[in-house]
Amino acid sequence: MSAVAQAPSGTTGPARRKGGLNEKHGQWAVWLIGPTLLALAIVIGYPVVSAVIQSFQSDAQHIDPTTGALVGGGFAGFENYLHWILQQCAAGGKTIACAPGTLGASFWTSIGNSLFFTVVTVVLETVIGFWMAIIMNRAFKGRALVRAAILVPWAIPTAVTAKLWYFIFASAGIVNAVIGAKILWTSDEWASRFAIVIADTWKTTPFMALLILAGLQLIPEEVYEAGKMDGAGAFQRFFRITLPLVRPALMVAVLFRTLDALRMYDLPAILTNCGGGRGDATTTLSCLVVDQVRQGYSSASALSTITFILIFVVAFIFVRFLGANVVQTQANQQKGILR
């Protein structure tokens, strides 16, 4: 997260005026941010550390011939990680490439699927969400109802939404009936991917729309009017006024939506059983983790850690190059140090 352009040390503008206030900033910060960090440490930090430690163990996989019990386990170093990244499976005492039908074989495919879903759904949701936010921002009769209507897709519990779309996309369902075709939405390679994209876009665009709307609210009307008076057309006003001013809210929305999309699980699981195509067209990384937890917990921990690293890299690229920097304070901004 080194995208923050730190002010040169000791020269924070307002603090200088206030004398010793800057020293107290650190003290204040501890009390203000402490509760957040505590909650996160317990609920997320502890399981993550526990999972990472577990990922260096191996699962008990040998059957004791007399009792039939599963024994084994113990320290395994990077074995679990290599299993996933290099597709090393054991079979008959040897190490071979993972065959289709094992989870390892779908590892790289699932990375591709996760990235595909992320890029497509985030782009679609941003564009459509922006459009919705602009409409919601305008004054017209009945806009209260429009705002309530927009939140409905997001307000229905995910389990119900997934089942609803499964039902809509069934081969005997309403979509096929209306368009008069027999597309296998839950099984064809590309049809299944687009079924998931459509369902996810419908469900999550309200999230984007809401955040962008909040951002649009901060732009005063006078700025637009001044722009109109200066002769700026609609397009120019959008790209020169709206976009830069709504950027902070937009970046937060896109960033978090991306993080969530990379961890997508419910829709592929319920709509397509994480299958499709030859069997893994819609398998996402989280699908693999859930399945692996049933087969061997240590290996699942390794896979979760790999997923985490992948998401971290994506987020890092985001913040660094697209400037989704949230922690730069007003002080730095006002000093003209942008982005």
Binding site: S2, N22, G26, L32, I33, T36, A39, L40, I42, V43, I44, P47, V48, A51, M132, I135, N137, F140, A144, V146, R147, A148, A149, I150, L151, V152, P153, W154, A155, P157, A159, V160, K163, L164, F167, I174, V178, W202, L211, L213, A214, E222, V223, K228, P244, P248, A249, V252, L255, L259, Y265, V289, S304, V326, V327, T329, Q330, Q333, G336, L338
Partner: protein
């Protein structure tokens, strides 16, 4: 704020008149913009509500006609709703709904309180290690949820919290905190802090200045974040499915547990009825609070 276009610092009379003329012109420009907005609004409403309409039609349809593709309500019955709400088979949708509302309310209030203080620190204060902390908070959203379940399950079972409300509330708060903190931080950054400074110079404490000057202006952002937090907690399924008891389970778990009359049977119509039932309170909540989301900048104290 760094804006590309100049806004005149002083409002001369000619300037005000020019704006008034521009506004009048926009209003009188026939039905064009109004109708275009109206049409787009209708398209949006249809896009959002069409699948929901299908959900309602299915909810009112007799179970044996689940796959009937007539677009309008046919084989109408209230049976699905009575089944969804009945407690004969051990389903307690009403209680689950109350659980969800309760958990959602607590999560929202706590996450907002905790998140606002953290956002204030990140937006306003300078201290070493700020990027690291912001990064840690963001990193909390990067781990696949399903991998957190086993350690959390063991932790909460060991301390005896299995099946209690705090087991469901604490994880929900933590899941929603990163988004809350980041959203509030990005909005608090945009606030006119010179006014807060002025208030502090005039003798207010930091907290007082924050409360009186900044909070009212940040109200739309705070209500938006509240809705985000509430709906996130509403949709939470992963942790609740493992750690909730029958008495404390929220709506997501209750609906997932709906069973048909025989094994293998998928009670679609009942699930759709249950989904309709649980969505209504949310829609009502949103209708009540929607005005707060778009309160806009109130007059007084804001310069361009």
């Amino acid at each position: 704020m760094s804006v590309a276009i100049d806004v005149p610092a002083s409002r001369s009379r000619e300037h005000d008149e020019a704006i008034a003329r521009a506004r009048a012109k926009a209003r009188s420009k026939s039905l064009g913009p109004g109708v275009r907005t109206g049409i787009q609004a209708i398209v949006i409403v249809i896009w959002c509500l069409l699948p929901f309409y299908w959900m309602i039609v299915t909810a009112f349809r007799e179970t044996s006609y689940t796959y009937d593709t007539a677009l309008w309500p046919t084989h109408v019955t209230f049976d699905n709703f009575t089944t969804a709400l009945s407690t004969d088979l051990g389903n307690h949708l009403g209680r689950a709904l109350l659980n969800s509302l309760f958990i959602g309310a607590v999560v929202t209030v706590v996450a907002l309180a905790v998140g606002t203080t953290a956002a204030y620190a990140l937006a306003r204060l300078e201290f070493k290690g700020k990027s690291l902390i912001a990064g840690l908070i963001l990193a909390a959203s990067m781990f696949p949820g399903v991998a957190l379940i086993t350690p959390l399950f063991q932790l909460f079972t060991n301390i005896g919290w299995y099946g209690q409300y705090q087991t469901l509330i604490l994880p929900a708060i933590s899941f929603v905190l990163p988004l809350t903190v980041y959203t509030l931080t990005s909005f608090l950054r945009e606030m006119p802090w010179d006014l807060e400074e002025a208030a502090r110079i005039d003798g207010c404490t930091r907290i007082g200045a924050f409360r009186r000057v900044i909070l009212p202006l940040a109200a739309p952002a705070i209500f938006t974040t509240a809705i985000l937090a509430f709906i996130s907690s509403w949709n939470e399924y992963l942790i609740s499915s493992q750690l909730a008891s029958e008495a404390t389970q929220p709506v997501t778990v209750a609906i997932a547990g709906f069973q048909g009359s025989l094994p293998h049977v998928e009670p679609y119509t009942t699930v759709m009825a249950a989904g309709t039932i649980v969505t209504i309170p949310l829609v009502i909540l949103v209708l009540i609070f929607q005005r707060r989301i778009v309160a806009g900048l109130t007059a007084g104290g804001v310069k361009g």
